[in-house]
């Protein structure tokens, strides 16, 4: 099946002008081919090189997207959805040229229904914009991947983040979608209910499909009540084993923590240097509890006992918003602090997720591997979910260093797969992890490909992502 996609694609690569001209007639000045605009749309926040599209279409609504896709389908021209560009695996690179579909004007919060604890938004709405507009309702949207990503992009990569340990990821948060199919047809999936068994679950098929099956234009989201009380804790440990063991013990005790974040000693060192702080250079755990006053008090007591069992040091608790922000400040700068170790660098961010029983071993082995490799890697992680990131700065022109980084990443993914983990907990496959997906789901990959072929037989939707689709 790989072959059929490759063939379908490789015959078509040189014929994008008719599509661009037709779309220009439709969108007028909202179709751009200016070099600066193209370059801005060909790169994300990761190490992947800029691969600009041939044109950028600034679309305003579902109907326009339907028209653009109909044109691109007719002329077999690739389409790459784009909003914030905060993805980390080259998702927005125009590997085979074509049209970047800029969704940033689609930033309307269509409806908020407090009585159903849900809302409906256009795909270009960002996470922070949504939470800002929700504040008056007493509700919030909990999926927080760090970046101020668009909701559409978060659906496309099945994003999660620091609060997923309590509130779930996009698979849990999305109730339904409006999707424009590759040939321009528009469908609605899901319903405004908490559950449904009505046919195949197209909602969750599109979540995590990374723009390869259609364009997500509207999203119905489940919301949560802002908790009555929130309490944050930070502490450090004498070893990463004690730190992660404390975390897995808390999880296995069934305490419903809202956040559970690890920063290893290398991360703390980088953060101290970057922010001119004096945190202990030791494995550090940040935990947050949400609930009623008494729930939060009870949970934090139980957590405190477990932390003491693992000889946690310098335990600090905070309940006011200001103090809690201060405790989380270190975690928020970790990426920039890590990159700062090598000025002018770009970064790789690994994304394995591990069964809880193996998490301590895998993190300890990975730390040892970083040391042996001589890389400037730091570890942060949503360890309540078993998900952690190694962030490694490097200069892409330093080919020798890139090879060492790639080899390290390969070893880490193999380590994860050996214990039945996954190569990606929340960032997706994009262009950067295709070989890992083949390792992880080699047997199931033909089924994924047959779905891709069925829904996008001309392979115009974000080609080159999730699957290899043409010779590069």
């Amino acid at each position: 099946m790989t072959r059929s996609i490759r063939c379908a694609f490789s015959t078509l690569i040189s014929n994008y002008k008719p599509a661009i001209q037709t779309i220009q007639e439709l969108l007028q000045e909202r179709l751009s081919t200016a070099t600066s605009v193209l370059n801005q749309h060909g790169i994300d926040e990761s190490y992947h090189s800029c691969v600009p599209p041939d044109a950028v279409a600034f679309v305003k609504n579902t109907k326009e997207i339907s028209q653009v896709l109909e044109i691109c389908h007719q002329y077999r021209t690739p389409v790459i959805p784009f909003a914030v560009g905060s993805s980390l695996e080259g998702h927005v690179s125009a590997l085979h040229g074509g049209i970047s579909l800029d969704m940033n004007s689609m930033n309307e919060i269509i409806s908020v229904e407090p009585e159903n604890m849900c809302c409906r938004v256009q795909a270009g709405v960002t996470r922070e914009q949504l939470n800002s507009e929700l504040r008056a309702t007493g509700l919030f949207f909990p999926v927080d991947p760090g970046a101020n990503a668009s909701i559409g992009g978060m659906v496309a990569t099945n994003a999660s983040g620091t609060m997923t340990v309590k509130y779930g990821n996009m698979k849990n948060a999305v109730m339904g979608l409006t999707v424009v199919l590759p040939d321009g047809r528009t469908i609605k999936t899901g319903s405004k209910t908490k559950k449904s068994s009505a046919g195949y679950d197209l909602t969750r098929l599109f979540i995590g499909s990374e723009g390869t099956l259609g364009v997500i234009t509207e999203i119905a989201l489940q919301l949560f009540g802002i908790p009555e009380a929130e309490k944050t804790m930070v502490c450090s440990f004498d070893s990463v084993r004690h730190c992660v063991d404390a975390c897995t013990t808390i999880m296995q005790s069934g305490i419903p923590v809202a956040r559970m974040e690890l920063m290893d000693e290398a991360a703390m060192n980088a953060i101290n240097k970057y922010s001119k702080m004096h945190h202990p250079i030791a494995p550090t755990l940040g935990i947050e509890c949400h609930g009623t006053q008494s729930e939060v008090a009870e949970q934090s007591d139980m957590i405190h006992d477990i932390l003491n069992d693992f000889e946690a040091r310098g335990i600090q608790w905070a309940t006011s918003l200001e103090d809690r922000k201060r405790l989380w400040a270190a975690r928020h700068t970790a990426w920039y602090a890590t990159m700062n170790q090598l000025p002018g660098s770009r970064g790789l961010c690994t994304d394995v997720c591990i069964p809880m029983s193996k998490l301590t071993d895998v993190i300890a082995e990975t730390q040892e591997d970083i040391r042996k490799s001589g890389l400037l890697g730091t570890i942060v992680g949503h360890v309540g979910d078993g998900n952690f990131h190694v962030m490694i700065p490097f200069h892409p022109e330093d080919k020798n260093l890139m090879v060492r980084v790639k080899e390290f990443s390969d070893r880490l993914v193999l380590r994860a797969l050996r214990v039945e983990g996954t190569c990606t907990g929340e960032h997706g496959i994009g262009n950067g992890k295709i070989s890992y997906l083949q390792l992880e789901h080699g047997d199931a990959l033909p089924v994924m490909l047959s779905i891709k072929n069925a829904l996008d037989p001309r392979n115009i939707m974000n080609p080159g992502k999730i699957f290899y689709t043409a010779e590069k």
Copy 2:
């Protein structure tokens, strides 16, 4: 696309003998064509008529299923997975003949990993068997559809039930699957982690696919710790509006109830007669809280206040297992009590799910409709999820009554769809709700069909379910 499936199928319907003979060589005495065995495998617990298969294959493991499917694929012979037969929409009827695949011997609990709070089971393991074997670990599997269904069947229909309001349904509980594809290939989906963004979500595509895409043979399930404390409440109301409004208020307050079950006055009347009890003949609500002692105490206090606001009567709370069972006893007999109103009857069980803000109106309108129709319908429901069932006894040979029941069901589904609800919260489409699926997801149905065609191009997997696939 409907047409292409119909054509593919209708040319093939008379040629099952070669498959049956070849499977008999493989399974020997474990392939049965005895009339009593065929009849037992052609019917579920609902009103749907018995449509027996041509043979029943009693399979023992994934490899055998793969061999059987390879044969059926070669000879274009339908395959219908079967275990307990507790489904409610004709899922197991052999509408186009073929082989019923009896999974009851595949009842091994392959592994339990308390440290990862998960287990792996063969598809024929039943829910009660699993919880019985889990008891010593302090863990339990919370999805409870009432019937002692097989886990495989529960995956196939995306089952949920009384505890879904807190613990989620099969979409949340399943971490991964082993699936035999229609041509005999075997794949594994998912991983032993809490989340993954590795490619298309095949796990959730197979959940709710009702045996139409492949045979689910093994399931990895997430488990939960048995709560420290459980507390059950039952009370009644002077009107169904007060009853359902109390329920939606509790849900909107964010109280994490573990069960929230409605029985309307007709249900209570039928239960009293059936069980010779003297419950108030009034809309009745059962609620259960799970958590630590103090969480449960706090939740029950908050619930009590809300119930009083809605003038609840005769509020009874229980914490001991024995007393809690006594409070739930009425709910457990509701189906049999309803059928008992018309001796010798079979029953229709509707399954709409409604956005919480519209639940009170829809239930009140539905009660009025039952009264006007002169049907013996009773209402029970997982109202914390917005899901409720109208159970209606009738004699299938009473054609006039069947028409009235069908017209009532049609009106109920239209009422649900008008408020963006769904025709099925947990029972699935089967053969009974195909026209409702077309109403609900007419625009998305061609996408579902294209996936069906891609994965099962010969349409051998449970044909006639979810989609019309041949003239009857």
